[in-house]
Symmetry: C2
Amino acid sequence: MLVGILIIGNEVLDGLTLDTNSNWLARRLIPLGAKIKTRITVRDELNAISWAIHQLMGGGCDVIFVSGGLGPTHDDMTLQGLAQALDVELELNPQALAIVERQYQWLHERGLVDTPEITDPRKKMAKLPEGTIPLDNRVGGAPGVLVERKNRLIIALPGVPAEFKAIYETEVEQLLLKKHSRSYSEVVIEREVKDESMIAPLIDQLMTQFPNLWVKSLPPAYGTSNKIRFWFSLSSDEEGSETLRKIINRAIETFDELLKSTNPGK
Amino acid sequence: MLVGILIIGNEVLDGLTLDTNSNWLARRLIPLGAKIKTRITVRDELNAISWAIHQLMGGGCDVIFVSGGLGPTHDDMTLQGLAQALDVELELNPQALAIVERQYQWLHERGLVDTPEITDPRKKMAKLPEGTIPLDNRVGGAPGVLVERKNRLIIALPGVPAEFKAIYETEVEQLLLKKHSRSYSEVVIEREVKDESMIAPLIDQLMTQFPNLWVKSLPPAYGTSNKIRFWFSLSSDEEGSETLRKIINRAIETFDELLKSTNPGK
């Protein structure tokens, strides 16, 4: 399962808002066997959104997540951008409208909005691209959207992190479990080593010895510490994650022996 | 000045590391009149890096920043990816080598590395794409890289935030000031409003009244607060930033009047 992520919002590109949805999502998807291929972040512009969806679809992503731009204001253009990318029209979706109505009714009953009336900006959130399916949102006004096209699944969720996470958990994760195909295991360790450049040949040696193993050194700021984190990860179509974990543990043992022989004083 | 940002690293895509360089950079570039157009994040893979550079060059970006992948280990592929994108070879750059040598000498004198010798992994950091210029790095081992091609400036910096920031500040910002063309001003305010959907037509009205003004509502998590942040921003080729600031202040006054008339109880 190759995954593409599209983040929409001027506030993210302009550095006002830190995109934490992508990292949260990756941490949830990788244990399901997903590989995150590309992430694209674009402005609130129709052509930019449509371009990015095309890039991710063309780039071989099986699942494309879109975050942001589903709200009621002028800058919320995801539904229109998705419609443009899919070459379909927007239409009022009765199920989506029912979700929007229920949510504003709920807010109204609690005195959080003045009226439960479905004004035009609220109705906008229920105008989905033809052929797409709304995803229920119980923690916000805007439904998510799901569509399958050319064997690719596109899932658009609101950018507010609480909504993004809740809809993923209640509406999306179960769907993806069906696509679950690969096992995955990873371990991050920290070791005292003076210098990343000294470790490079050692990592090369380890990766030759353990095929498919990915080892990445994550160095601290220069001169601030002599502890480097090492991230070991391994995925497989055949082996279970228990087996992968055992292989990683063996690799770490080998790594520590190699370290010791390079760095006998430690 | 249209800017593209390329972030390289499995650890970012896989959610182990939060990319904070992009936001920091945007906050520095926007006051210089830059518009951040697109950000692409890719894995440590040669073709992915080269593809992304092509996308950003083809997408009309005047300046392309690349973060990460300049270090000594196997997964550091930015120089090779950049060479592939520019269709040139890597060559040992004497100036870059001098930087690497000086840095390891410095570390060695302080007992932070065992040897100042330029081993192969260290030498790798000085093998730059033909026709590129090294950017001095006094807070890490890997030089940055600068190249101008087809009227586009490509600037590659190490991903470790302390190094990314230091090289930007000492080596890059001055260069960009020469390209400075547009003025920019922005203000973020917070207002008590019950509901974003109610505000949508009001923002539309404001943006009609103040041409070029961009107003974006940044809502909190649903039901957690009735305070919404509003981001007002404006850029111009003709007016100075003082004038832009005054226009924004007038727009905020108008906004508050509109709010009051919609929300008389507040």
